[in-house]
């Protein structure tokens, strides 16, 4: 077995750590079930201009028994008042199955319609609302279209990626031999991570501490995972040797090829992005194992009814004495330690983290 085969085999082993395969399979089954239920009740609920998109654990392939179903009816086409009717029908049908599909959170970001024009055009500036930013970044980092008709979803994904790249003046390094890290996209991902952290505090206040434990655990681990995977997709534009070998001599191809590359990376789940980065950047096996072990422990904990309920009820003031939260803290510390080694010690990733990650 040569070096690259060995690292490929190590990363596939990482993705097979229990309960990751079970959670992936469960997510795939739930997506299928969701499509079957909706297709029965609303035949052709999607079209070439509209897609049903799911987010969070269902999209990440990390479905556990008590996961929420965050969804959006994404529209990329002519305005039509029937879109609202369909979105309402979807909501009503899912309500009937809420024992299986827990409804999305209270913010109104999900469980509704979203329009491609805002998502693509309103990046930054006064009109880029918290909801719009959330939908856009989660669309990029943790989303999946339900059913076979995913054209609108794919168009919007590419439209968003293209929009970020259009604003970067130089996609290649000065000598033209490598792609640069797409800074506009990266900055938006970084901004979103900080927004999630700030919103955590805001929700704590709005909801008088209710649900603090679960939200905190997610922020420490699953939210951090999507931030890390977003950074890795951006850094990968500069590090992926295959991509650099394909750099075209024609200006317009340079951008279009990068759109396709980023789109391909964003088809992967965040854990797959991490596994790929570990393989491609010669990250040590120990770091990879610690990272995936921590994440697997986190999913096991969420999958345990008692632990999840304990976290859901936990308030901040009890966090230092709560045994379940003690486990969360230990898991998140292990996860962060491995992320630190990945982003700050690995010889390929560390320079990019220093250059783009903070200042």
């Amino acid at each position: 077995m040569n070096g690259s085969e060995r690292s490929a085999s190590i990363t596939s082993e990482l993705l097979e750590l229990a309960p990751l395969p079970t959670a992936r399979e469960a997510a795939s089954q739930v997506r299928k079930e969701l499509d079957e239920i909706l297709s029965t009740e609303i035949p052709k609920y999607t079209s070439e201009d509209s897609s049903l998109v799911v987010f969070a654990s269902l999209a990440r392939g990390e479905w556990t028994g008590a996961s929420d179903l965050d969804w959006t009816y994404l529209i990329d086409g002519q305005a039509n008042s029937d879109h609202l009717v369909i979105a309402q029908k979807i909501r009503k049908i899912l309500k009937k199955h809420e024992d299986r599909f827990r409804p999305p959170g209270q913010t109104g970001t999900f469980g509704n319609m979203a329009f491609s024009h805002d998502i693509i055009h309103q990046i930054g500036g006064q009109n880029d609302t918290n909801r719009n930013t959330t939908q856009r970044i989660l669309l990029l980092l943790e989303s999946k279209a339900i059913g076979k008709n995913d054209q609108a979803y794919n168009r919007v994904m590419k439209g968003v990626i293209n929009r970020y790249l259009e604003e970067d003046n130089h996609l290649l390094t000065e000598d033209g031999t490598r792609y640069r890290v797409p800074r506009f996209l990266l900055n938006d991902i970084v901004r979103f991570w900080r927004t999630m952290a700030v919103d955590f505090a805001s929700k704590q206040r709005d909801r008088a501490g209710e649900g603090w434990g679960l939200r905190n655990a997610k922020l420490r681990i699953s939210r951090k995972l999507i931030f890390a995977s977003g950074l890795l997709v951006c850094f990968g534009c500069n590090l992926d040797d295959g991509l650099q070998r394909r750099i075209s001599t024609t200006d317009s191809d340079i951008k279009l090829d990068l759109v396709n590359h980023i789109r391909d990376q964003m088809r992967l789940t965040p854990l797959e992005v991490l596994a790929k980065a570990i393989e491609q950047n010669d990250v040590s096996q120990t770091v990879g194992e610690e990272l995936f072990k921590a994440y697997s422990d986190f999913l096991n904990l969420l999958n345990d009814k008692n632990s999840r309920e304990a976290l859901d009820k936990l308030r901040a003031e009890d966090s230092r004495t709560n045994p379940t939260f003690k486990s969360v803290r230990e898991i998140s510390q292990a996860f962060e330690r491995a992320l630190d080694l990945l982003f700050f010690v690995n010889s390929k990733l560390a320079p990019l983290t220093r250059k783009y990650g903070v200042f």
Binding site: G77, Q78, Q151, R155, G159, S252, L256, D257
Partner: protein, 238 residues
């Protein structure tokens, strides 16, 4: 200079003779004889010997875009007469019920990439499935369909890069939100130019825009601008 012509179906519905007369009057040198509807195929093929096509340097034939399963074998047999003239036969991938039965046409079979209404044939991955069954088939790249499927034109670039060896012909028009072929807009010109350098000058283009006779020359000019790889596009206000 690239050969740019017209589809007869874009100019006159159900009357290929009238369309050919228009194109001859306009001195257009490339034509695609269109039998888009199943019932048009046999009458058009039966008349091929009687049509005066000597002014056209490039001739292609568009097979019906929808066929009944039981008509497929008839169509293949009738289209043999087109293949014997060595004209490319443009086929929509979803029109074939048994794609392997079309393999006998070799590289004269020209698979067209589809618009967003169609279930297959839109992307590199979709086309790969089709070319797996029809390894010798060539590609008719519909640049308007590609733009409708992905306005960033990154999928268009990927298709042209991946299948450059198969590229035999271009279809060009504005494909509107109802997937109808309209006159090429400025927005389309801007989009098409992003991938124009991937279309060699030797590849002929067939315009599918539904325009009147007096708009043909302008439409061909717009198609030429859109497919030009020279970077000299004037933008209003510049």
């Amino acid at each position: 200079m690239r050969l740019i012509g017209f589809s007869t179906g874009a100019l006159t519905r159900d009357d290929f003779r009238a369309a050919l007369q228009i194109l001859t009057r306009r001195r257009v040198r490339a034509v695609e004889l269109s039998a888009l509807r199943q019932h048009e195929l046999i009458p058009l093929v039966e008349q091929l010997d009687n049509l005066d096509l000597h002014d056209f340097q490039y001739k292609a034939f568009h097979a019906p875009s929808v066929m009944d399963p039981e008509f497929e074998a008839v169509a293949i047999s009738v289209l043999d007469q087109v293949a014997s003239r060595h004209w490319p036969i443009i086929v929509h991938p979803d029109a074939m019920h048994n794609p392997s039965k079309w393999a006998g046409f070799g590289d004269l079979l020209c698979i067209e990439n589809m618009d967003k209404r169609k279930p297959i044939g839109q992307t590199v991955a979709h086309l790969a499935e089709i070319f797996k069954v029809l390894p010798k088939a060539s590609l008719c790249f519909d640049i308007g369909h590609a733009r409708q499927v992905d306005p960033t034109m990154s999928e268009a670039a990927a298709i042209l890069q991946c299948y450059k060896q198969r590229l035999k012909q271009i279809h060009i028009s504005e494909v509107n939100s109802e997937s109808k072929h309209d006159a090429i807009s400025f927005q389309s010109v801007l989009a098409f130019r992003k991938v124009a350098h991937l279309v060699p000058e030797t590849v002929p283009a067939i315009v599918e825009s539904r325009v009147s006779e007096d708009e043909i020359d302008e439409e061909i000019q717009d198609a030429r601008k859109a497919l030009s790889s020279e970077n000299v596009l004037a933008i209003a206000g510049d």
